[in-house]
C-alpha cells in the first residue's frame, strides 16, 4: 500500500483490506497505464496503418496512379463524413480514398462498412487494425462528434460493388439516408467524393446468388479479373486510372443532437447528394479518354 494515501481503518487482518482511498476530483493523479500496443478503442493501430500504407503505396501511385482534385475541401481538423460511390467486386475505392487522405492530408480516417466483416476470421481483425469500423449510427456519432475524426462511408452499401459491369457508373439507391441523419446529429458536413476507375479495376460479369447464400456472404461475384488472371484475379485489380474529385461540403442547417430529424428532409438531402455525385461522375467520364491512362 503506497504511503500518503488516506486509508480508512488500518488494522492487521489475515486478508488484505481494500484501500478505500478518499479521492476528490482535484487530486486525480495520473494512474499507471502499461499499454504495449497502439491499438485504439476502434481497433485501429497506427503502426499497422503505416505498414499497410507502405505496402499499398506502390499500388496507389504506380498501379492506379490516383489523381485527386479538390483535396483542400477536406478540413484539416474536425469531424466530417466523407461519402463516395462504390464499385468493383472487391472495391478498390475504399483503400484508395483512405490511403490518399492519410498520405496527402496526414490525418487518420476510419472506414465504415457492414459489420459482416467483423465476423470473418483474420479479415475482421486486419480490417479493424487498418481503420475499419462497423457502420452503426452510434459508432459514426462517436467518431464524428465526440472524437472529431474523418469517417468514410459508401451509402450504396453492397448494392454498389455487387452490380454488374453493364450498370457501371450508375449509382444505386443511397440506403435510407442514414448517413445524412448521422451528419445532422453530429453537426458535421457531408463531403461527397466522386470516384472514376473503380468499376474497371474489377468488373463484375455476373453473380452466384446460391453460392452466396450457402456461404452466408453478401454476394459472390465472377469477375473479369478471375477470367483473365485465374486465381490471382481474386485479389489483383486491373490497372485502371483512378481519378477522384472532392465536391463542395454539404452542411445541414439544423441543430445537432436532436432525437429526430424530418424524414422527408433527410431523404431529400440524401437524394440531392446522390444526384451531385452522379453528375460529377458523368462529368469526369466525359473528360476521360482512356480507362487505363485517364
Amino acid at each position: 500500500m503506497a504511503s500518503g494515501r488516506q486509508v480508512v481503518g488500518e488494522k492487521n487482518r489475515t486478508t488484505a483490506i481494500v484501500p478505500l482511498r478518499v479521492t476528490s476530483a482535484d487530486d486525480a493523479e495520473e494512474i499507471d497505464d502499461p499499454r504495449l500496443s497502439d491499438v485504439d478503442e476502434w481497433g485501429r493501430s497506427e503502426r499497422t496503418r503505416a505498414l499497410a500504407r507502405a505496402i499499398y503505396d506502390p499500388l496507389y501511385t504506380k498501379w492506379f496512379r490516383a489523381e485527386w482534385e479538390g483535396l483542400e475541401k477536406i478540413p484539416a481538423a474536425g469531424g466530417a463524413l466523407l461519402v463516395a460511390n462504390h464499385a468493383g467486386a472487391i472495391p478498390s475505392d475504399a483503400p484508395v480514398i483512405m490511403h490518399g487522405i492519410e498520405k496527402e492530408l496526414g490525418r487518420p480516417i476510419y472506414g465504415l462498412a457492414d459489420y459482416f466483416f467483423r465476423s470473418v476470421p483474420v479479415v475482421g481483425t486486419l480490417w479493424a487494425r487498418s481503420g475499419g469500423v462497423s457502420a452503426r449510427p452510434a459508432n459514426a456519432y462517436r467518431l464524428l462528434k465526440e472524437q472529431n475524426q474523418l469517417a468514410l462511408v459508401f451509402p450504396e452499401g453492397t448494392k454498389g460493388p455487387s452490380k454488374s459491369y453493364t450498370d457501371r457508373y450508375q449509382l444505386r439507391r443511397f440506403g435510407r439516408g442514414g448517413f445524412v441523419e448521422i451528419a445532422m446529429r453530429a453537426g458535421v458536413p457531408v463531403i461527397p467524393i466522386a470516384v472514376v476507375g473503380s468499376e474497371e479495376a474489377m468488373p463484375v460479369l455476373f453473380r452466384l446468388p446460391t453460392l452466396a447464400k450457402a456461404l452466408g456472404v453478401p454476394y459472390v461475384p465472377v469477375t473479369a479479373n478471375l477470367l483473365a488472371m485465374g486465381p490471382l484475379g481474386v485479389i489483383l485489380p486491373f490497372p485502371a486510372k483512378f481519378k477522384l474529385r472532392v465536391l463542395d461540403p454539404v452542411r445541414f442547417d439544423v441543430p445537432p443532437d436532436q432525437d429526430r430529424y424530418s424524414k422527408s428532409r433527410i431523404m431529400e438531402e440524401s437524394e440531392g447528394i446522390r444526384t451531385q455525385l452522379q453528375e460529377a461522375v458523368y462529368d469526369m467520364l466525359r473528360d476521360r479518354r482512356s480507362v487505363w491512362f485517364g
Partner: protein, 345 residues
Amino acid sequence: MSYRVLVTGADTFWGGRMIQALENDPSIDVILGIGTHAPSVPFERAEFVRSDQNYSILNRIVKATQVDTILHTFMITNSATVPRRAMHEINVIGTMNLLAAAGAAGSSVRHIVVKSSTLVYGSAASDPNTFQEDTVRTSPVRNSVERALVEAEGLVRDFSEDNPATKVTVLRFANVLGTHLTTPISRNLARPVCPAIFGFDPLLQFLEEDDVVRALVHVTRGGIPGLYNVAGDGRLPWSEVASICGTRLIPVSPFSPLKIRPLGRVFDLPAELEDLLRYGRGVDTRRFASTGFTYTSTSAGAVRKFIRSVRLRRQSGRTPASYTYEHDVEQFFRHSPSIVGTGDV
C-alpha cells in the same frame, strides 16, 4: 447519517470483501451478512446469518432488523462456478425474493445496490463499439449466465418503477482481474498457454478487483441511484493482454463451437467467453465518472497488477491465509457479556 446495511452473498468473495470494507466505516451502525455457506473471511463486527440461496427468510430478517440499505452482491457472473439450474435460482429467484422483501408494506429499505455485469450487453459482430447504459443489446441472449442476469436486471427495473421512493443502483462491472479473485480469464492468463480464437483479437476492458469494492462502497455511502457501467479506462486487444501476462496464445478453430466445447474443458472457456473472445466488448464509463468516482487502475493497469500478484505467488509459494468460520466463537465474541475489548490478537 447512519446506516444499517444488509449484504447478500456474505460467504462469497465479493460479499466478504464488501463486508470487510464496510466494517471500516464508522458511520455504518449495523452490518448483516447473509449467505448459504460459512463466510470465508473473518468479520469484525458484522453478523452472519445462514440462509438458503433464494432467501426465503429474508422477509423476516428485513422486518426484524429494519435495515435501510441492501447490497446485493450475490449475482453469479461466471457460469463455470454453478450448475445452470442453480444460477437461475440464485440470480433470478434470489433477486426476486430480495426485492419482494424490500418492497413489502412498511419496509425500512431505502436503497438497494445490485452488482451486475456488462455481460448483459452480450458480445456480437453487430454490436456498437461502445455500449451506453441505455443501449439495448443487438444479439439474442445465447447463454445461461447472460439470460439470468438480463432477467434479474429486468426485475430490478420493474421494482424501481413500482417503488419510486426506494433508491435503486445497478452497477454493471466489466471483467474483473485482481490479486485475490479467480475467474476463467485469470486462470487462463496465469498459465503458460492461453486460448485465443483463430483470426480474432477482440478489444477488452478490465477492472481491478479493489475498484469493484470501491465502486460499491461509493454508491452505498453516497446514496447514488442509477444504472452505471463500471470499467477501467482503455481497451486492449486480447493479444496485448496475453503479452502483458507473458502467456502464449494458442489459437482454437473459429468455425464450429462444437470444436471449441471439448477445448472449453481443457482451457476453461465457459460459453460466455466464446463470444467475448471473438468480438470483445466496450462500455462507456462516463456516467459513473460523473458521480465523482475515480479508478485506481486502468484496464492495462489491472492486467499488470494481476499478473504481478500471480508472479509473486508463484515465486514465494505464498497462498492467502485461510479462515474457518466457527459459529460459536463468533457469537461469543459478539454477544458474551465477558467481552470487554475488540478481541484482536
